[in-house]
């Protein structure tokens, strides 16, 4: 087991899973408590347009996806609130629109789009060092923003109308939150890919909710869960030669099911009820 750690690709994979679990642990909590899972999924999928753009321009697709995900966050956040048609329909339209742009651009790019699959389904065992630095930089921006706007984000998520009445620019705060979610998605792409990103944004946060009623503790617990389970997933995918992203999600889902089941049994027997601190 330990000789595995000598391989640099394993070291990179472990570093990537730690960086990813910090981002998804913190931001996933907002996604879950504000109930914006669907719009987050929309931003993630629409970001595929950025992957296509990267291929088309011949640059690292990660640099294509970064501006594109921010743009789709801003467009979705603005259009879905201002439009007369229902919010979920708007998200559905933009979701597929972004993906379609990506597919067309990849198709227009001459030659074979190598490792396109790693952006769709992730492959944590092939994360290059350069991407790690990008992930680290994004983590710092995400953490910094959450520290600066902690009380505003909490108020926004709990009661948006009251926050507006308090005189705060709630629409701008909401767009900022969506942009931070977009950055988180960029961090997570290499780990699980665009298609599975939403699992990392929801499962650890939902799991942490079973143990605490405090937002900060939720962030901490969900980061720990995400990190431990990702590392376990990497181990399993290496041992059984399975795709890493899907293996991580599978382990996450199974742990979630198991914890919910055990907790439900304990609660119904009177143990641990009301024990969330």
């Amino acid at each position: 087991m330990f000789e595995l750690l000598q391989y640099s690709f394993i070291q990179n994979a472990l570093a990537a899973s730690v960086l990813a679990s910090i981002a998804c642990g913190i931001i996933g909590v907002y996604v879950v408590v504000k109930k914006i899972v669907f719009i987050s999924g929309g931003i993630a999928h629409a970001s595929f347009g950025g992957i296509g753009l990267g291929y088309y321009l011949g640059i690292n697709p990660m640099y294509g996806v970064l501006p594109f995900s921010l743009l789709s966050a801003l467009v979705m956040g603005t259009v879905s609130k201002k439009s007369k048609i229902p919010e979920d329909s708007v998200i559905g339209i933009l979701w597929s629109f972004g993906m379609a742009i990506g597919i067309i651009l990849v198709n227009l790019t001459p030659g074979y789009a190598s490792d396109l699959m790693t952006y769709l389904f992730g492959n944590i065992l092939t994360v290059p060092r350069l991407d790690l630095y990008l992930m680290l930089g994004l983590d710092i921006i995400i953490l910094g923003t959450v520290c600066l706007f902690y009380k505003e984000f909490l108020a926004l998520c709990f009661d948006e109308e009251f926050t507006t009445v308090q005189g705060l620019p709630t629409q701008k705060l909401y767009l900022l939150l969506l942009c931070i979610i977009a950055l988180t998605i960029v961090v997570l792409i290499k780990v699980v890919g665009i298609i599975l990103v939403i699992a990392l944004l929801t499962i650890p946060a939902t799991l942490s909710r079973q143990f605490t009623h405090n937002l900060k503790k939720m962030m901490l617990i969900s980061t720990l869960f995400g990190g431990l389970i990702s590392i376990a997933g990497i181990g399993l995918s290496y041992a059984f030669d399975l795709p890493s992203g899907a293996t991580i999600i599978l382990v996450l889902s199974l742990v979630y099911g198991l914890v919910s089941f055990v907790k439900g049994r304990l609660d119904s027997r009177g143990f641990g009820s009301g024990s969330r601190a």
């Binding site: 009380k151 909490l154 009661d159 009251f162 926050t163 009445v165 308090q166 005189g167 909710r209 009623h213």
Partner: protein
């Protein structure tokens, strides 16, 4: 400041699509204290009326002034208590954190809540007698307690006008009475406007009553002519005033 009218609504109309929600609403409230109860059926435009006062909606005709300024510019003087039923009570937030959000505009961006904010939040919790529940998660409270926490959140910013949206709905009579007594104490320091669909809310603590069903019937008094009430509810209404030492309804003319 004090000579400015608390609320001045002139010929306010609100439309949603082709539907008229509020029609030619006029309201003058000049005293800095007292409790105005606005009763009306569901769908009568009560929530819209409050949203106009909060600057969340723009009337398509007419003008609204609070303390001589537009609602958006007078937000620091207004406290808002929404219906407590609309919340996700599983939300990971404590009573203390909820009340502190009432200090957001005072605390300022990018800063933590200061001593002054914490002091104001403590005092607001004391006023509504909820200080001992300060560390509870909001979901672990009863309906009446949640309502009190939302009032404390509004009080934390020291408002001069307090707006409440159906604060009595879903509370049992005992809790309702406690709520009215609390409002009765608060109305000495601020003007309070409470909308409700519950006729029994017209209690001893209410100073003035208006009826709202698209149009606002308001006579600057506590008596409601039966005609107004019937125009509002569009059916014959008989109000049984239990143990109230004054007349709520005007006498029938014949």
């Amino acid at each position: 400041m004090t000579e400015k009218k608390v609320i001045e609504m002139k010929d306010v109309w609100v439309r949603y699509g082709n539907q008229i929600i509020l029609e030619a609403v006029n309201l003058d409230l000049d005293k800095p204290g007292g409790l105005l109860g606005i009763i009306g059926p569901n769908g009568g435009g009560k929530t819209t009326f409050l949203k106009i006062l909060l600057g969340l909606l723009e009337p398509y005709r007419g003008s609204v002034k609070l303390f001589g300024k537009t609602p958006e510019k007078s937000r620091d003087l207004v406290g808002y208590v929404p219906q407590y039923k609309g919340f996700d009570y599983d939300f990971p937030i404590s009573v203390w954190e909820v009340v502190l959000t009432g200090r957001l505009s005072h605390a300022g961006f990018l800063k933590r809540y200061g001593q002054e904010d914490k002091g104001a939040a403590l005092k607001a919790l004391e006023t509504v007698e909820m200080l001992e529940f300060k560390d509870r998660q909001i979901g672990q409270l009863s309906g009446g307690q949640r309502q009190r926490v939302l009032i404390a959140r509004a009080l934390a910013s020291h408002p001069k006008l307090l707006l409440l949206d159906e604060p009595d709905s879903g509370l049992d009579p005992h809790m309702q009475d406690e709520l009215y007594r609390l409002l009765g104490r608060l109305k000495k320091d601020m003007a309070i406007v409470m909308v409700t669909h519950d006729l029994s809310a017209v209690s001893v603590y209410v100073d003035k009553i208006a009826c709202l069903n698209r149009k606002l019937h308001y006579h600057n008094s506590k008596e409601i002519p039966v005609e107004d009430l019937e125009a509002t509810y569009q059916c014959p209404v008989e109000l049984i005033a239990h143990g109230i030492p004054h007349r709520v309804l005007g006498r029938h003319k014949n």
